[in-house]
């Protein structure tokens, strides 16, 4: 990743955070817009789960990441701590690849 891209991301992320406190002041957004923006992260994060599991360089593949995600899903459902979920997923994939 280039430093230019990194700084562009930082600038964009900051502008989004600052729109309310610095630019907008006390005006309010329509409720529809607020709801849409609040729900927006859900399909994006779900897509990240799917793509990071199935993308094998521009084609869909089923590999060790799938059972690893299954293990992670059970642990998330059982409310395991975040690092435990990650380590279990990595361990599952690593063991299947031995």
């Amino acid at each position: 990743m280039s430093w230019t891209a990194l700084l562009a991301l930082a600038a964009g992320a900051y502008v989004l955070k600052a729109v309310g406190p610095v630019v907008v002041g006390n005006r309010q957004l329509p409720a529809d817009v607020t709801q849409a923006l609040e729900l927006l992260s859900v399909p994006l994060v779900a897509a990240l789960v799917a793509v990071q599991t199935l993308d094998g360089g521009g084609k869909l593949v089923l590999d060790a990441r799938v059972p690893a995600l299954g293990v992670a899903a059970v642990l998330v459902w059982r409310k395991a701590p975040f690092p435990v979920v990650l380590l279990a997923a990595a361990a599952t994939a690593a063991l299947l690849r031995l």
Binding site: M1, S2, W3, L6, L9, A10, G12, A13, Y14, L16, K17, G20, P21, V22, V24, N26, L29, Q35, A36, L37, E38, L39, L40, S41, V42, P43, L44, V45, A46, A47, L48, V49, A50, V51, Q52, T53, D55, G57, G58, K59, L60, A64, R65, A68, L69, A72, A73, V76, W77, P81, F82, P83, V85, L86, A88, A89, A90, T92, A93, A94
Partner: protein, 226 residues
Amino acid sequence: MSAPERQAITRRALAIGAATGIYGISFGVLSVAAGLSPAQTCAMSLLVFTGASQFATVGVIAAGGSAAAALAPALLLAARNGVYGLSLVPVLRGRPASRALQAQLVIDESTAMARAQDDPAAAHHAFLATGLSVFLFWNLGTLAGAIAGSGLGDPRRLGLDAMFPAAFLALLAPQLRRPGAPVAAVSGALLATALVPFTQVGVPILFSAFGVIPGLIVLRRAQVAA
């Protein structure tokens, strides 16, 4: 706000920050595994400072995408901070320069803590304490993770690539209780998966944003029914 109330808020803020530090360590490890240098990894946590966008960026780059391909989905994920910022307008007091600095602390945790308070002084203290605590621990965690991650071997052999979807799943799960969220999640995941064979890395994530539409339809119906 009484002194004990103030202390109780500070204690909760520190606990939340410490928990975020663990995520920070994970981010540091994954970012270095994706090929970012430790300096870039730390700079991202200092300057971007919004977890989901940072994980998304290094996730796309780890999958072979360009930084440009990572940028759009990362910024879409950061859009919710804009909503948070708007909802915090009454809480974020001070002169424009001070508010501009405080804006960097507008994230999930600080917003949730501020909104949970009754009076404006408590809300402002909760926002600042939580924001600063998360900022401190997130960056310390990132540094530790980046250093530890540099010593690891082949990311794939260690299964680190499987940590990305697991991390996103853990971030997604608490959001699924809202009406419309499960439909939005399934729609986004299916849309992105369908696009993988036909588009560049990062593009499927971007288009998954359209999954918000069926989610909003379900949400609207739930509100009408209520």
